[in-house]
Structure formats: C-alpha cells, structure tokens
Symmetry: C2
Subunit: 162 residues, 2 copies
DNA sequence: CTAAGATAGTCGCATCTGCAACTATCTAAA
DNA sequence: TTTAGATAGTTGCAGATGCGACTATCTTAG
C-alpha cells in the first residue's frame, strides 16, 4: 500500500495563522503607541505592567510576567528613563535590583494611550459578537494554560516577594 | 465629574495575548523544523507554499499569500537553493520572475516534516475538545476575514496569472 | 566566616528582518 | 516607437532582539 502523501494547508495551520494574526494586530496597534508616542512593543509592555500594578516593581518581574527577555526589558527601561517616563530607585533590601515606577509624565502618557489601545482592540474584536468574544477569550485562555503561559497571582507574589 | 483613571490588564489584552501565544507556539514548533532540519520560519513558509500548491510559483506569490516581505522570501529562497531543496526556472513569458519548485530532496524533507508539524499542532490544540477546536478555528477565521488576511482562491488566481 | 551557587541587571555580538534603493523587465499610453 | 510607470527580485543598511558573558549582590551550606 503506497504511503499517502502528506500535505499541509498553511491557511488552516494554526501556528501560521497565529503568527500572521499577531503580526497584523500589532501593526494595527502600532499606529497608536509607535507613530503617536514613539514607543515600541517592549517599552509599551513596561508601561503597561507598571500601570496595571499601581506599584513599583523590578525589571525582572516585568520580564517574567510579559515573557520578554530581560535584556529587552533592560533596554526598554533605559529608553523610558532617558525620556523621563520611568524612574527607578534603589531597593535597600536587595541592592541588585531597582524598583521601577512611572513618573508623572509617564503616567500622563499612559492615561492618554490606554483608551486609544482599548478602542483599537474593541474595533478589531467587533467582528465577533459579545458572546463570541467571550468564547474566544476563553479558548485562548485554555491554550495559554496548557502551554503554561498564565501568570497566576501566586507566582506573581512569589516573584514580587522581597 | 473626575475622569475615571483607565487601566489595562495586559493579561486580558488580546493583542498581547496573541503575540505571546504566537511566540510560544512558534518556539514549540521550532524544535521540529529548526533544530531537526535547520529551517527557519521563512524557509518553512516557502516549502509549505510550494508543497501545498503542487505547482511551481513565483517568490512574489509566496510573499503575498504568506504575508511575508519579499526580501525575506528572497533570502529564504537563496538559502533553500544553496541546500538544493528548491530550484527555480526562468519564466519565458515574464523574464523578471522565476518559477520555484521543490527538488526531489526538498520534497523528501517536506514529506518527513509535515507529519511532525501536524502532530505538534494536534498536541498543542489537544487541550480543546474537537468542538472547541472547530470553534476556535471559526473565530480566528472571522477575525482574519475582517482584517482582510484571507487569501481567496480568486486572489490567488489573479496573483498567479501569467 | 567562607565559599559556591543563584539572581538582577548590563552590554557586546550575531542574527533576523523590514525598508528602500537598485537593476532588469514588462505594460500602457502618447 | 518611445517613454513613463509598474512589477520581480536582490542587496546594503539600520534597527530590534535573543543569547551569553560579565559584574555586583544575595543566599545557603559547611
């Protein structure tokens, strides 16, 4: 019996579709944070993390929970400090690390940026009904969990412990 | 009335989740095509396109339908030709372009690789039930359509026309 | 206390990839 | 036919980013 020749339709192949979709969505959003505010993705991730946790945290923590390499975060923090959007203070309890927080200027930018990004996200997702959006988020969540991508609050506490 | 302070939870923000998930899934697959066969993503996309369309096609066509920059495809094709996995022939009707196709060696590699990649995809998606997998694909498709990411067969014909 | 190993952050290096300029070729319009 | 503009593909360049080495600091075991 001859071996059936395998074929793979790239357009039905989930890894390819995720890559392409992620790239396209990022491009759609970059107009907001990049063109308008001169931020790249790692810089935006730093601000987003600092803004959500209304609290100073370390570069390492941001790297962990955004799954971004620490050198990338390091460079993003440097750039943000140069622009005086973020500042850091020594941690007396562990002098290896710094506590990062947004400056007043950084917070102002953040407050301007967030509604724009949320609006863009809504636009992109508006092709799905409310129910479908919830479903999509739920399914994404299941895949994330199975790939161990989900940062539990417990892990966050551990990383944050000092 | 004071303006409500906006916050954005990165872990619920779909663009971030898509980026992270796509990166993780790519990393999971790279063991198959990269570590085992020394292919990078653009090279794999070229092979996938040539393999699915059992037919010679141009670099430009591959760039269009995989949404990859033509310079990236050009370099991938060069690398694949060096390894004798792909060959190209002049198109007499349009001497600007070349018709690309896999060599026997390229097809052999492709035939080995496909089942591995499909198995990996299945593994990753196995955290969803069959019904959920279909649902996920359907929702992805709706988003892709609304972002105009879907290559219709009509467009394919147009691009392919010569 | 000391030594070995872990961790935070920085930086040089190599790689990847998008942009834009360039050549060659084709198409269409005057 | 000539010329302007479009298209296929290549390549130099620059920016982004992952890796690994490095320093400084902390932790833990003996």
């Amino acid at each position: 019996m001859p071996k059936a020749s395998s074929r793979l339709d790239l357009f039905r192949f989930v890894p390819f579709r995720l890559n392409r979709l992620a790239a396209e969505v990022s491009a759609a959003l970059s107009g907001e944070y990049q063109a308008r505010y001169g931020l790249d993705i790692p810089e935006w991730r730093v601000l987003a993390t600092l803004g959500f946790r209304n609290d100073a945290c370390s570069a390492q923590y941001i790297a962990h929970c955004t799954r971004t390499h620490k050198s990338t975060i390091s460079r993003a923090v440097t750039a943000l400090m140069t622009r005086q959007l973020v500042e850091r203070v020594e941690n007396k309890d562990d002098r290896r690390e710094f506590r990062l927080r947004m400056t007043r200027k950084g917070k102002a930018l953040y407050e301007q940026l967030i509604p724009r990004l949320l609006r863009k996200e809504s636009e992109i997702m508006s092709c799905l009904s409310t129910h479908e959006q919830k479903d999509f988020a739920r399914l994404l969540g299941k895949i994330e969990t199975s790939l161990d991508l989900v940062q539990t609050s417990h892990e966050a506490d551990e990383t944050e412990a000092y």
